[in-house]
Amino acid sequence: MNYLLHISVMLEIYILLALSANQKVGLSGLLSLAQAVFYGLGAYTASITITKFEFSYWLALPIAILICVIAGLLFSFVAGKVRELYFSLATLALQIIFFSVAYNWIPVTNGSYGISGISNPEIFGLKINTPASFALFGGVWVLLVILFYVWFLKTPISRLIQATRDDQIAVLSLGKNPNYYKRISIMLSAVIAGIAGTLYATYTTYIDPSSFTLDESILILSIVLIGGAGRIIGPITGAVIYILLPELLKFLQMPDSIAANMRMILFGLLLVLIVRFKPKGLFGKYLIQ
């Protein structure tokens, strides 16, 4: 039972990450290879404020969100002006910088040893430290983000974000600043990934730089690619497939040592098949370019 609940928590974290990637990659059409950076920023900010300054989760969370907003804003000033491949290259650079900093800034991040002893969140004096309570807690976050998108996708600004994706010059000719819409999208995406990061850090109570690598960014991107970009359901489906695939293999009585490799093989195979036969992903609105 606990194992199932653990799986649910991981699923919730990946749903948040996939939704955050969808904001950037799907709605804005900005192919980001740095989704794990904002995930990591959220996780590290929460961990550092909680362990070093003994802040509660509820104080660490807004700080983490603020850091993600600032980082997203700074990054969008640099990278928001370029498009397509150049944007992806800029995100790649960001990803590499982040990893190097997390790995080498030992006084703050503790380098490869990571940060341990991160305390769990508390609500009204109740410690969220069992898998069941955390699954519920994560579920509330997922629900909040989904509700946000149900509302947000109908708003004028989300239409303009998608309009900027479709034709930047046309947005400009209408007297609107396409960079503004990209900036908002990058910041929004950073905040959601940051929230996922705070959940991850306080759930596992230990983080190190290996969770926030380029591999992780690419993984998040592939989840969106498989599920499909644009609609809410796409990224969620992608996350469900990624998380439940190894469980399915266990169900088939495959030994763990093989299942771990099989997971990547099957996921990769699925990715190839999707790109070949259903380039928009299972439930996608847009082609990821």
Binding site: L160, S173, K176
Partner: protein, 239 residues
Amino acid sequence: MSEILNIQNLNKSFDGVAPVKDVSFAVSKQSITLITGENGAGKTTLFNLITGLEKPTKGKITFNGNNITGKSALEIAKHGIIRLYQQPRLFKNLLVWENLVSATHQNAGNSFLKLIFKPKTAKQEDETLEQKALDLLTKFDLQDLSNKTAGELSYGQQKLISFCMIAMNGTQLALLDEPFAGLNPQTIERFSNMILQMRSEGITFLIIEHNINEVLKVADGHIEMKDGKIKTINDIATV
């Protein structure tokens, strides 16, 4: 009639080529001016200069009494000058009415902060604009297209819809680049009627077009360009 656009001694040159040389003319409010000329006569560069996509080397552009020479494309668009390209540029993944509403400025929900802090105003304004878009489509008998995504439309339909965006946008001066190219005679007629109707509502037009006769039916003035210079200016209204 009062003057809306005034261009004085406009020059553009780069690397020894001068696509626009000493062009001066004025356009009065609510007029329709046709610009013709062979390929390479400088028509498109002239449009690029007016809309700020290229900066003039010399000369002055005044719009509604404001000097807009050398301003950025975004600022100029905010002044109320809109340009429609030869290829219609719609947001192909949005619905037709969403395209029209996206063209507007007076929508609080276009700004993230206003959307968060004044959600009610944003919602109301957006609903009003949605209705305005539907009314506009109905006026031009395009209401059936409202809930289609722009990418599904035919070329002619896309042109008509992109033209409707002008009316949503609070545009004062519309620059049309070959609006009739690739359209059938019925659509051209429909387009001409739309132009006349929008002019009566206060919009001024500058139109580049090879289909001279069609535009001359509705035009008030005709500028012919050759080698970057103005060859002739005819004010049809006075002729």
